[in-house]
Symmetry: C3
Subunit: 321 residues, 3 copies
């Protein structure tokens, strides 16, 4: 997939579809703009008029109250109008094609699509097909990418660790099916961390995973050594039945993050998780709620990062001063 459509001729963000293909300078710009929005959430009146009169459509083909909510809040704090459409695949197939849906919404003069879809590449497809004045933000497509999640993770890491260069980061869990992991690995490597490790059972690792620029560990104890940032992935419980995994308790014994395991990492290591967490499956409550956990900081930063991406994508056409 060609990600150059993400950037316009002046090098500005037009769509935000995946981390892949974006230069370090642009990722850093997103983090900087997000930082300027963190303060908005502390204001008495948590609103800036940046996108007033703009219409942002939440186009969710896959249900996700949580992600939809953060995008809706981000849009409202930018003073945009938000239209939330939950489109079950069934009704799309019944009614009209995806492309006809897009064409119709374009004709209603909307300004941005926030797309979540179970099929990898859906957001790219829409960005390729849509009218030039419309920006597309990928809110998760199949097993491909979840770039705003990755950027809020990067924001949280920078907030605490300041500098990416010396960091060793471990991503633990179902790398194979995780769009979050894919985007995180790309972002971490683009931002130049010292090392990215993935720690997982063989059945949950993609083939040739090393080519993504990671070191592979099958053993949690070995993988956590010297680590600055521990990123846990959510275990999709559906996988359990698919013979890729033994039991939940077996998984927790091998790859679940406990207080004891965490001691293997550096003493000031931080623990991250994209949520929602499965307590006692991939992470112990003591760790999730413990002093090294920054899980709720991630949620908070998610609003500012989404505001940043939305505002920047809108600016591409000089739509925003």
């Amino acid at each position: 997939m060609n990600d150059n459509i993400q950037i316009n001729s002046e090098g500005k963000l037009k769509h935000f579809l995946s981390i892949d293909g974006l230069p370090r300078s642009l990722l850093t710009e997103i983090l900087d703009v997000a930082e300027s929005f963190v303060g908005v959430n502390d204001l008495q009146i948590k609103k800036v008029p940046l996108l007033r009169g703009k219409t942002i459509v939440n186009l969710f083909f896959e249900n996700s109250t949580r992600t939809r909510t953060t995008f809706e809040l981000a849009a409202k704090r930018l003073s945009a109008d938000v239209l939330s459409m939950s489109i079950a695949t069934s009704s799309t197939s019944k009614g009209e094609s995806l492309l006809d849906t897009i064409r119709n919404l374009e004709a209603m003069f909307v300004d941005m699509f926030v797309v979540r879809h179970a099929i990898s590449g859906a957001a790219h497809f829409i960005a390729q097909q849509t009218a030039p004045h419309i920006s597309v933000i990928n809110a998760g497509d199949g097993q491909h990418a979840h770039p705003t999640q990755a950027m809020l993770d990067m924001f949280t890491i920078r907030q605490i660790k300041k500098d990416f260069a010396p960091l060793k980061v471990a991503i633990i869990g179902d790398i194979l099916h995780s769009r979050v992991a894919r985007s995180q690995i790309q972002a971490l490597n683009t931002l130049g961390v010292a090392e990215v490790r993935v720690i997982a059972p063989k059945t949950l690792l993609p083939a040739h995973v090393e080519s993504m620029g990671v070191n592979v560990f099958y053993d949690l104890n070995a993988g956590l050594k010297d680590i600055d940032v521990v990123i846990m992935l959510r275990l999709q419980k559906e996988r359990m039945t698919s013979a890729l995994l033994p039991s939940e308790s077996e998984y927790f014994k091998c790859f679940g993050l406990t207080e004891d395991k965490l001691k293997i990492a550096k003493p000031d290591a931080i623990v991250m998780h994209p949520g929602p967490i499965n307590r006692g499956v991939e992470i112990e409550s003591k760790v999730a709620d413990g002093p090294q956990s920054v899980i709720l900081k991630q949620v908070s930063n998610g609003i500012a990062v989404r505001m940043a991406v939305m505002a920047m994508a809108m600016q591409k056409q000089g739509a925003v001063q």
Copy 2:
């Protein structure tokens, strides 16, 4: 049904329930006001403060994401607050009567109901029963009327053809079950086109259809001759099973609009469709996406026309300056 309740004592629009009973001057006024709103959709800030502080309730007893979305966008661009209520008939019957629902919403000081209902006459009933300060807009009632759809079609025709007087218009498809067709025929005749034709198999035509002021054709080739405006109707696939129709492919062969068939009409004929389209059933993709198609223009104009109707109905009580 008495449509005079649509107009107040000064001849101003109070409710918008059906085209039936509205004079040409009022239809023309709607088109003119809509024209003034077309520009709003091009502004950087796509909002006018006309209905600020007003509460518009989308009262949808029949599901329709598409129509609800256009009304919601129109309301928001007029700066109104929108309350969207999807009321399954079952829950109404369980909880309280339609009239009690209306009485309760009135008591909450709302200003307008946009009503969609599977039963013909539902919007009229609500308009008759509701408090005097509330306006009712019909967003489709049973097989009776869909007046805002008809007016956005008229707007699109005038936009391209300028003058209604010389036009020959053909409406093709399931006239029998179509509230859209009923409203279109009334609007076209009120605005004084030269001829309205309906083209359909006998099983999809109402009895005494000629009394509606149309010429009837059972043959697409004959009916398309000399036509300026081709209006396709959506084929409700549910009808297929009801023995009113042979197969989809059989229907397409006889009444589907293809490039070849379209050549029978005037060379500058335009093609319209209320959407969503069934590609390959009532219309060929080449035609739907072709140079004579104005289908997406209709969608765009739908926002402006709905803004116009809402603003005019609100003005009746001097509520808007």
Copy 3:
């Protein structure tokens, strides 16, 4: 349950969870503030900027279009942003715990939770657990409390009867399962009415109901004598099957309010009902729509009272000037 968490150290309302534990002065303040908001609903622009930039989350674990709508309208008329989340218990148990949901929303910098839940004490639990800057409003929890309903009833009574002191009030129907009744009894006693009566069959009365400060009547005729305010409760039809009640018609014969029965009360008695009403089950249409009924006034007052409670709870932290 300790209700002191409702009041902050300066005696101001912080949460609104139940009437229990609130002093008369605070209930009177709510009524007075609500009175100042009644006028807003009559303005051309029905909005005050009091909560602009605040985010209010409707957290409805139990479905209720009606109550959700009134809270949403109240919030919008205070210019707040509203996020409506319908959370089926099933999806909560699947995804994450209630507490994790709350923690996540907190992290998104929301300002208020309006909570409806089938379990008694749910709103208290959330108020105890949530961050200090967040206010919780109980919109109905199990069979425990529905304090905003009780306060809009008090507002309506004061509006018409002016003074609480001389009033004799009868609450009729399913006291046992009614959170509304529980809150009404507490409010009426706190505001110092002369007498509160409950009238119901034995099977629909809680044990030791007298300890709530009411006189018990099993006979409607006897109970209605000298009454100033008649409060009907909604009969939950589900109860019918549970052997607590004979047939609907049998119930109506004994406890349904008819014109004849109403004559037993004082000639200027008012009739109230929280809605939605079951016509012909607990109340005759002639009474519900008759001159002594104030049922729709209750609905109207509900907006002002909810605006008052929201504005006051927000003021606790000096968030509102």
